[in-house]
């Protein structure tokens, strides 16, 4: 167990130090984070890094393997392009969380903002609170689980992937080219395992799944007259 103080350090030096430490240490405690940007980017390894404080943009970007626990808030683009590993945010994240994420798991105990899981390709994004608008936009894979409320345009034009939601008003807020189906048993099992692992007390039976509609091309309504007839 080792302690790293980031007070007065810039992100380049902080990441350099972390890269060295994860070679040898299993647990790293980080203090003095002062919402630093690019915290713990592209770390390849197996250690557990706990940040006692908030971090800034691009937290845990390109992360591959380690477990990152942030005991505060993170900024926009948390876990961008994450490859593998875990990011657990105890409070809230900014918007555009987990963009183009490839693998691993991100658990946000608080709320996330708009465009969560943008273009996700794999892995799991779990939000215990609410997500904002256009979450799950154009995903290529992966699993998003939202326990709280969702914003408008959820799952807009998903290509692949799945979103599990509890929000009873989800149908009015659905994005284009997706549909709601009851959660299937396989997904229930997977979700139960995730909840157990991260201590999330929530049953899985009430979830609904948002999946892409099955057809060759996405449909878009590009002309929206308000007079009466619809073409």
């Amino acid at each position: 167990m080792v302690r790293l103080d980031l007070t007065g350090m810039n992100s380049r030096n902080a990441n350099k130090k972390l890269k060295v430490l994860i070679q040898t240490e299993d647990e790293i405690e980080v203090v003095g984070t002062h919402s630093i940007h690019n915290f713990a980017t592209a770390l390849i390894g197996k250690s557990k890094i706990t940040a006692h404080g908030s971090t800034g943009f691009y937290t845990g970007g390109f992360l591959e393997g380690p477990t990152l626990v942030i005991e505060g808030n993170t900024g926009w683009y948390t876990g961008d392009n994450m490859m593998d590993g875990e990011i657990i945010v105890q409070m809230n994240t900014g918007s555009n969380a987990a963009p183009s994420m490839l693998g691993g798991t991100i658990v946000i105990k608080g709320n996330s903002g708009s465009r969560a899981g943008w273009g996700m390709k794999g892995g799991n994004l779990v939000v215990c609170g609410n997500v904002g608008r256009w979450s799950g936009k154009m995903t290529l894979g992966g699993r998003i689980i939202v326990l709280g409320e969702v914003g408008e345009g959820i799952g807009e034009s998903m290509y692949n992937g799945i979103i599990h939601v509890l929000d009873p008003a989800v149908e009015e807020k659905l994005g284009g080219n997706v549909m709601i189906v009851p959660i299937d048993d396989k997904e229930k099992k997977e979700t139960e395992l995730i909840f157990k692992k991260y201590g999330i007390e929530q049953g899985v039976d009430d979830f609904m799944s948002i999946v892409p509609k099955v057809y060759g091309r996405h449909e878009y309504k590009l002309y929206k007259p308000t007079h009466k007839k619809v073409i």
Partner: protein, 300 residues
């Protein structure tokens, strides 16, 4: 492309104003071309701040001001870059402020940064650090303020093109803007046709005139003006707007540019583009993100 920050401190003894400049320091990676702050204090005099292209123009500037009132506590000094600054107290008629403002601005050598009973604006080239060192500011008693770090996009890097912007139509209203308007030229033509005069080619100046024009000539309040702005201005934008009694913010409908706010007790409200800029004053709090197409107003 820019960063904005702001604060409201209803109890001036909490002296949040002192740390306000540190909020902008944390945003330096978002823009290093220029930094500017506007803050409001409960004063009993009208104060003026003007940028001059040269120190020697002080006499000429004072001639213009003296047509409207008497000057005291004047000071002129060189700024961080090529511009010099003049500040003073002016004993003059409140109603003539707009006229004096425009008369100074009509000269290409001068640019009024602030003129009013409550407002004070400092803006210069470079970072918040250099702004603090070079200009002797004392915002500790400020009730509220807004600030900006600039990464110039479509207009020049001249500091008169830096934010905060004020319109001579309503000199106690200041705005800072993160983003770029895509219908600036059409709206500028519309406003010029209505008699509004522009000093720079910066699109954010247009937003200041837009709000000021509608609030003065159409008699609407800040909230209505922000709703109008949300509808008529196009592009990506987050605006932070302050008047002597209110602070308002509007975020564009696509929600591209961030705007966070945090309310502490009943006393302090903080605004910023990023969580990190709130940390000099409160660390590790949950700051709310404004909704796309959202408008919020706070009274000071």
């Amino acid at each position: 492309m820019c960063g904005v920050a702001g604060f409201i401190c209803r109890d001036p003894s909490a002296a949040v104003g002192n740390n306000f400049i540190d909020m902008l320091k944390e945003l330096i990676h978002r823009g290093q071309d220029a930094t500017g702050i506007a803050f409001y204090e409960n004063r009993d005099d009208i104060q003026i701040r003007v940028a001059m292209s040269d120190l020697h123009q002080q006499k000429e500037l004072e001639k213009v001001i003296q047509k409207y009132g008497t000057i005291s506590k004047e000071r002129a000094y060189k700024g961080v870059g090529i511009f010099s600054f003049y500040e003073a107290s002016v004993d003059m008629d409140l109603d003539a402020i707009g006229d004096l403002y425009w008369e100074i601005d009509s000269s290409p050598e001068f640019c009024v940064h602030s003129l009013g009973e409550h407002i004070k604006i400092y803006k210069d080239q470079g970072s918040a650090e250099t702004l603090k060192e070079c200009h002797k500011m004392s915002p500790s008693g400020a009730t509220h303020g807004i600030g900006h770090v600039r990464l110039a996009t479509e207009s020049t890097e001249n500091i008169n093109f830096a934010h905060p912007f004020v319109s001579y139509l309503l000199p106690e209203l200041a705005i800072v803007h993160n983003g770029q308007f895509t219908n600036y030229f059409n709206l500028r033509r519309k406003l010029e046709n209505l008699g509004v005069r522009f000093k720079t080619n910066n699109d954010s100046e247009m937003a200041a005139h837009f709000l000021a024009y509608h609030m003065t000539k159409k008699g609407i309040d800040l909230e209505e003006a922000l709703y109008l702005a949300l509808d008529e201005l196009d592009g990506i934008f987050t605006l932070l707007v302050s008047t002597p009694t209110q602070v308002g913010t509007v975020k564009d409908r696509l929600g591209i540019k961030p705007m966070l706010f945090f309310e502490k007790d009943d006393n302090i409200v903080l605004f910023g583009t990023e969580q990190i800029c709130l940390t000099p004053i409160v660390s590790d709090v949950y700051a709310s993100e404004m909704e796309p197409g959202g408008i919020k107003i706070w009274s000071v």
